[in-house]
Symmetry: C2
Subunit: 214 residues, 2 copies
DNA sequence: GATCTGAATATGTCTATACATAATTACAAA
DNA sequence: TTTGTAATTATGTATAGACATATTCAGATC
């Protein structure tokens, strides 16, 4: 007899992967499993709920629990903070502001991020000053806009999109790469409850890859 | 007084975002919150655990719960199944096998995926036949290798990596794009407990973007 | 001062029980 | 047949109480 919910989860996952519980198939209900495995229903619930969150199972009230047809496990990545990304590579992080101007309530920023003094990424950003007025006074030589915003402007929703783009003139100049070289470009917009907080285009130096954990 | 754990979660998130609980700060313990909010400790636990999983809080036994210093929310994406990706765009999915040969226990595949008859992605794949011997008999005109493997070869671990690369000769030919055009390339390897199951290089037609949900 | 030891404490988890909620099913009425 | 309604059922959630476990902290010992 298993004990903790993690053991129950392991056992359930084994049955899924061994096809004892085939894809699309209905599995025994919680009460039954609890009896079979010798634990409380709440424990089974905890285990199955976790598996459902990971995409292995699909659960519906009254209809029961079935094994997901295409076990789409979800890949996760954390919203990148460049400093951590660079330091995670064992390199020294630094950054430089290229330009900074305010126009129509928006702060327009251009900046460059370095890993061991080699250009790592170039950033073009707009910040909505009516959402984060303090941003106007931040010394961006001390802390990068990215970092300051992540720590000081919690957001509710956002979009995040990677694309492969040819290096623009801006990229070519600052990342020291060939014109139209294939670059990984990240676009991100974040919103508070009421309005857009910041929008960024971040172009990474050639060779950058986005790794996800499954 | 709040009721469900989701309400507790909402209230806690409000306090975090309003900086009533500042970043790095210790928050009241579960028992205290339960008393304050008029619910059982288990309910508070559920709410705070969920927030910790989302990266808002850091919890340690005895030490208590504190607000994460850099609230790195995690972005999620599901491991892409091309059919679903294409159909999600409201287009008709189809695919074609370009080549198929077996060499040294490995099945080498090249294939092409279409959205409404326009090339969507080109695939180069190796499958370890000693891990999934049935794969040798699958009619790949009926079901794509991707799809078959996802449904029939559950894996334990894997790597997934996106990069921007110049179109190779293979890409140029099959995706109908300019030579060395910037393409989004996905590399994925999946492993069973014991060995590599499959390795893929998937190059997407120009303009493809990877969107993540925050 | 340095190190070990045990008490204290916050989170982690399990249990039994109860009720809530969604969805299906069965059945009755139109 | 269609439509409305009530019973059924599996999951979802809340609760109190108990014990487990990891860490910290305060003393005691060296």
């Amino acid at each position: 007899m298993k004990r903790g919910w993690q053991d129950i989860q392991t056992e359930a996952l084994r049955r899924i992967q061994s096809r004892e519980w085939p894809p699309g198939g209905l599995i025994p209900n919680e009460a039954e499993l609890a009896r079979e495995l010798g634990c409380a229903r709440a424990t089974v619930n905890r285990a199955l709920r976790a598996l459902a969150e990971d995409g292995w199972l699909e659960r519906r009230r009254r209809a029961g629990t079935r094994v997901a047809l295409s076990p789409q496990r979800r890949a996760q990545m954390s919203v990148p903070i460049l400093r951590q990304e660079v330091e995670g590579l064992g390199k020294a992080y630094s950054h430089r502001v290229i330009s900074r101007k305010i126009k129509g309530g928006l702060l327009h920023l251009e900046g460059l991020h370095f890993a061991d003094k080699a250009p790592f990424a170039a950033e073009q950003r707009q910040v909505n000053l009516s959402e984060v007025p303090q941003m106007a006074d931040v010394d961006l030589d001390q802390i990068s806009a990215n970092e300051w915003l992540v720590q000081n402007a919690p957001f509710d929703r956002g979009t995040l999109e990677y694309a492969a783009e040819p290096a623009s003139g801006f990229d070519t100049k600052h990342l020291e790469c060939a014109p139209a070289a294939p670059l990984m470009v990240l676009r991100r917009e974040t919103f508070s409850e009421t309005a857009m907080v910041t929008a960024v285009r971040m172009s990474y130096a050639p060779g950058h890859a986005v790794r996800l954990v499954i």
